[in-house]
Amino acid sequence: MLRLITKRLFETIPVLFIVATLTFFMMKRAPGGPFDSEKQTTPEIRAQIEAQYGLDKPVWQQYLDYLGHLAQGDLGPSFKYAGWSVNELLWSAFPVSLELGLYALAFALTFGLIAGIIAALRKNTWGDYVPMSFATFGICLPTFVTGPLLLLVFASWLTWFNASGWEQPRDRVLPAITLGLYYTAYVARLTRGGMLEILSQDFIRTARAKGASEWRVVWRHSLRGGLLSVVSFIGPAISGLVTGSLVVESIYQIPGLGKFFVMAGFNRDYTMVMGTVLFYAVLIIVMNLLVDIVQVWLNPKLRFE
């Protein structure tokens, strides 16, 4: 187990290096700088600003400086929000996104697992068809369609929820559902497939022969194996949740990292964009590592490989 973790961590370093290098040079080749919009700047002031941000140095030195700071976890100053470092901006916005992501994931896992297990146990009956038809819809509908539609129905017509904001607990409901819907559907499908496969295995027959109740057959004997595919999906799901949060935070006006990232993109706040990309990369790699560990823990066969 420890070997797996160290191996993965060592793999992470070159990946981050490549990501950092790529983003840095893409940025350097970019036409137009962050200060182009401030039209009144005289050449002197401009030079002064550039010196302040280290932009007057040769590119290779800027690159080394950037990597050096990066190694210490410092993502540099924001080009747009004077006096703020990218780190400060990230840490102010990330908790909101994390909260949203966790709600969405919890929503997806809870309802996806329940629906999938029921569908598998009621195979080829209405208890299977109804949730699985919903899942088919859920998989095809993107967040930027479901989000506005949910707003239309629940905020505008039924007025159960506020259309935007992130103050009250109930403000979390619609965004979490919007973000989690696709994953709910996907988890339901995976669960159904995984459970059906496990339930057809010989060892389930053995369990029944021991006099195990249906409940015990599902909980003790099937769930662990049936959920393996769901667990391995959580890695990609987290990556997708990050991407999805950009849209959801825009739709519901949530002050999270996704909204910051989109704004930074519009404002050409390069350090912020780069910092966010790197942050997302680290986040996703770490989450994938966690998922791998859970997977090994779930499947005893993997522990010996």
Binding site: D202, R220, P300
Partner: protein
Amino acid sequence: MSALQKIEMLLEVKNLKTSFHTRNGIVRAVNDVSFAIAHGETLGIVGESGSGKSVTCYSLMGLVPQPPGRIEGGTAIFAGKTDLLNCSPKELNAIRGRRMAMIFQDPMTSLNPFMRIEDQIVEPLLIHGLASRAEAVRQAVQMLEHVGVPDAAKRIRSYPHEFSGGMRQRVMIAMALITKPDLLIADEPTTALDVTVQAQILELIKRLQAETGMAVIWITHDLGVVAGFCRRVQVMYAGRIVETAPTEKLFANTRHPYTRALQKSIPALQPKGTELYTIPGMPPDLSRPTGGCAFAPRCEIARPECSAKLPELLEVGLQHCSRCPFT
């Protein structure tokens, strides 16, 4: 009915019919099968793959997947009380795993790969409330040692994939016998194992049966195995019993042509150097019943009327029945 059969039977199966409803039609896997087994008896059920011998026992254990399987009719009275085919799931669960246990063909897939051996072996005791967890573990270790798993106290903490096939089958046996059942159903438990291991497992079950006095139903395609172990044999073909007799009688005075053919195909019973006998033709398609004797197309002594009318299972001697009127 002979006087002997009047004593209370452990299990009495009457007119069992099980079929599978598939896309290609209804497959009548078990068709009107009746038999009984007394306390402590050993019964061998012999037949080719698809003869219905396994499905018969799966029906009794409630393990036929439904759908596509369906138990169309019959009764199976266990210990003079419970009808296994028509009782509630709760009643069935109170019997299977406690008074009636089963071991399966493939020990590689029959143990749960995600659970420790320990958790699997103690499960029957816990499910049926026969012991506390600690006591159950103690009994499990004892049982494992008894079936010949070395270093049982330590190895009980392992996962199935750390065991060899023979060891896994021993685990399966320990698991089945830990509740001291009255009846053990063994579904070709040696088929998937190496030849040397096969003999060991067979000996082990023989020994355990002698010790505990449980009844055993041994399902096999190998008449040779039956000869050394079972008191009574019942031969199945195409979902029906074609011949049943005490073992010595069956070998001494074989009546049904199918049983004769089976016997001829046991290599050990043939003179050295002769070519290995194989039964000509293929087993019939059970989704297309012929109305006559199912073995007729492959039978050496078949007559025209064989394909027209199904022969009855007739008594041809004491406790000896055969479904062929011409032998």
